[in-house]
Amino acid sequence: MLVTEEVCRLQEVKVLSPTAILGYGFPDASFQRGLSMQPDAIAVDAGSTDPGPHYLGSGKSFTDRLAVKRDLLRMIEAALAQRIPLLIGSAGGAGAKPHLDWCAEIIAECLTELGQTAQVAIIAADQDVGDILHALHEQRISPLGPVFPLTEAHITESTHVVAQMGTEPILQALDAGAEIILAGRCYDPAVFAAVPIRAGLPESLALHMGKILECAAIAATPGSGSDCMLGVIDQDGFVLEPMNPDRSCTVTSVAAHTLYEKSDPRFLPGPGGVLDLSECQFQALDGRRVRVSGTTFQADATYRVKLEGARQVGFRTISIAGVRSPDFIASLDAILETTRSAVFANFEDIDPADATLLFHCYGRDGVMGPLEPKRDAVPHEIGLVIEVTAQTQALADTLCAFARSTLLHLGYPGRQSTAGNLAFPYSPSDVALGSVFAFSLYHLMQVDDPLAPFPIEYRLMGDLHEIG
């Protein structure tokens, strides 16, 4: 059972990253090539805040179940066959309990289908509202970047709050002999760094390697989020090699990747400290492999974890339509304002504070909003999205329908096309989108013990009647 004992005290550790996000897939040939390199661990990251607050708020995964199962079947089979640990970070994308349960169920199905059993460590990342309020009152919570000031309401109204774990809970699960580690919300590099750290290799290099491996072959050229990358780490550096012979790591591709989705490529803060890349060296070993060295890690005086939370702000209904009339486009802003006034005048019992009516004008500034420098250019057509977010779905439906019908038939000065103002691609024209969430926490919380917020449950999973 203690498969990971073999990993201890190695001079060199190999970590295979099959794909950038669990469920994004990978070519079998690349994966087989990775396995032939005798990796010491397979690790995969599943998480991101990129798809927005909906997934954390609703408890749904942003990756598809069938695609996740396809990836997991291959990884579980390979990890058990090679007696190496499989580590999965930020289950289900957002890494809260519903995501963890969802992914655990898929793992159980895979094990049963493979006729295998495995010791699975499930590490929760959900945080208790009472604990966070307590931390707020003790002033142990600070904003992370240009975020709103935190109030008690942000905390109590959140449907899920998670913290990003560091490597500590994962190391504990490895020590306990887990063959599969399923982590809730997790610092992306942690699942890649844990096995090298446990083998006595430098935390700084292990985390930096994890920063790159978590995106799999995105750091190669041509890059891909759906292909395998191998990281080989020793005491002085690590080497990256894409497992698909059609891809290469170059100094530029690897160095450029350190910029990706970060605000500063030199200093990368994470749980417990900051990775410092300012003295980093990137060296091409050959046409396809790059060696990275010189990364350092500065531990913080107090250990802090990142909190993420989302709360429901209403329900949304949208309607999509196009406009081709030059006179309508010339008067667009005035027409939209007239429509807005007509909607709220018709439903005078509805407090405008309980509903938000927005118009997205594609062709003008639909993509960039207030950042658009060419807003005054006059297009020949406009793609319009009418959007209402309100306290109930019924109210959102009502207001969106009324805005749509008002706009369709609105008379405006100089109107020549009097039959209708909008071109609808669909019938029905309106779509109820359901619950709308917003990020309610994106803050740092000081903790005394990096393990305490992340309880670990061990489960023997899979084909249980095999072992009676």
Binding site: L259, E261, K262, P370, P373, A438
Partner: protein
């Protein structure tokens, strides 16, 4: 010369839900140095391109190991907040293409 003709990559993306980060990557040191020396991507110029307050430009980092310039700004809205136009922040780069570099 336009920045689009000097840079290999010009892209934008969220750096967390409250920041938007722009990367301009070069494949020649000459082009990188030319753009750095021009100062056209420094905070005050960048703010003018996007019509934002210079204080909303959080950092401009010239990162020679990757021949890269990275600019990070405050997001006007948290990602996915009401009024969002680009949840991933991946299509906010276009005004940089036309920046004239002497």
């Amino acid at each position: 010369m336009r920045l689009a003709d000097l840079a290999k990559v010009i892209r934008s993306k969220n750096a967390g839900p409250f920041e938007l980060t722009f990367d301009v990557l070069f494949d020649s040191e000459e082009a990188y140095v030319r753009v750095v020396d021009s100062g056209r991507l420094r905070a005050d110029h960048f703010a003018a391109i996007y019509g934002i307050a210079p204080g909303d430009v959080l950092s401009v980092v010239e990162f020679a190991p990757a021949l890269a310039i990275k600019i990070t700004i405050r997001r006007a809205l948290g990602s996915g907040d009401l009024g969002e136009t680009d949840v991933y922040g991946a299509q906010q780069h276009a005004p940089l293409l036309d920046v004239e570099i002497p």
